[in-house]
Symmetry: C2
Subunit: 205 residues, 2 copies
């Protein structure tokens, strides 16, 4: 049993705590004491708290994107819309227990989120846009952009909502049954994508 390096232990603890408590609310002291390393180790291995957050997020997003594209590539060309949505949603739901981090990043640090989006998310977004467009011939690029934006909303909200769902529903682990949640997400998303497009024109993307 190899000991994990200090750098990795910091990443692990940060991933857990940042998702659990929030970005601002988690101090470097929380992280380093949880990781059993010295406080200064963060600024030695990473350069600042922001860079640490970025590293945590990158480590989380990179395999997710890879998995998404792998699933999409493995899909037959005539696969239904629902299957494409599954390729998009499943890897997000699979992200261990740290789903909330994406949502926190999204609203607390849009500046950092955008950096991740440009480098890791935008290329795969284009791939999915093409897959959707092929299956929704009546939809213009503008309308599709908005609808993909809505899909992101469904996803991020569901990832972030575990504590809320727990409080509201009383279920201690409402996202436990991943496949059931995934099925509901896919059904709703497909229904929304297939809706009759509106008439107004809006610039987007």
């Amino acid at each position: 049993m190899k000991e994990a390096s200090a750098k990795d232990r910091i990443l692990d603890s940060a991933e857990l705590l940042l998702a659990e408590r929030g970005l601002d609310a988690t101090s470097l002291r929380d992280i380093t004491s949880s990781a059993s390393v010295n406080l200064a180790a963060v600024n030695y291995h990473f350069r600042s708290k922001d860079e640490l957050i970025l590293a945590v997020f990158t480590r989380l997003v990179e395999p997710m994107t890879a998995r998404r594209l792998a699933l999409l590539d493995a899909l037959p060309g005539d696969a239904p819309l629902e299957d494409v949505l599954t390729c998009l949603f499943r890897p997000a739901l699979e992200m261990a227990k740290h789903k909330a981090l994406v949502a926190r990043m999204y609203v607390e640090r849009p500046d950092l989120f955008q950096r991740i989006f440009e480098t890791h998310l935008r290329p795969s977004a284009h791939r999915f846009a093409a897959a959707f467009s092929q299956r929704l011939p009546g939809l213009g690029a503008t309308e599709l952009g908005w609808r993909m934006h809505f899909l992101v909303g469904l996803m991020i909200h569901t990832l972030a909502a575990e504590p809320i769902l727990r409080a509201i529903s009383g279920d201690p682990a409402p996202l436990e049954n991943m496949d059931a949640v995934l099925a509901k997400l896919v059904a709703f998303g497909a229904g929304g994508l297939r809706a009759q497009p509106t008439l107004g024109e809006e610039p987007y993307a």
Copy 2:
């Protein structure tokens, strides 16, 4: 032209700054200097920062709920699903320039959000659930609960996404044309609500 009271000026400044910068990231000193009041005024008129946040949020949510119910009550019994969704979404989009506050509250302070939900949102949620259920006879209570959860996700995400949309699309005010956004939200939401329900059973609510 009557001068606004210190209490109201604090609420106004807090509403603006909290939505703009985030809950933790906005200090009481930011708020009081923007409102041109003494720092101690916050702890005099409200008891703490948390109570101030709660007051800001309550002042925002109360008329929104009232407007929602008013719109819903004015709806003919045979109005289509889309009209019910409009009653739900329009008041949210109408909330001046401080829409992002709802989303920030949602992910940064779920504890405070839940207090607001219980007192101001849950009753109207039941009214809307009934309106939806009546128009979607095939949908069980569990499935409807999840789909309303998805609707909240659409809404909160759209409210929160202005800075992201601005960064991604380049449009300086992508939510400016409220009616167009509303139409897209309603179309997508109605499509999702009408989708074929999944088979799995999940406890909810």
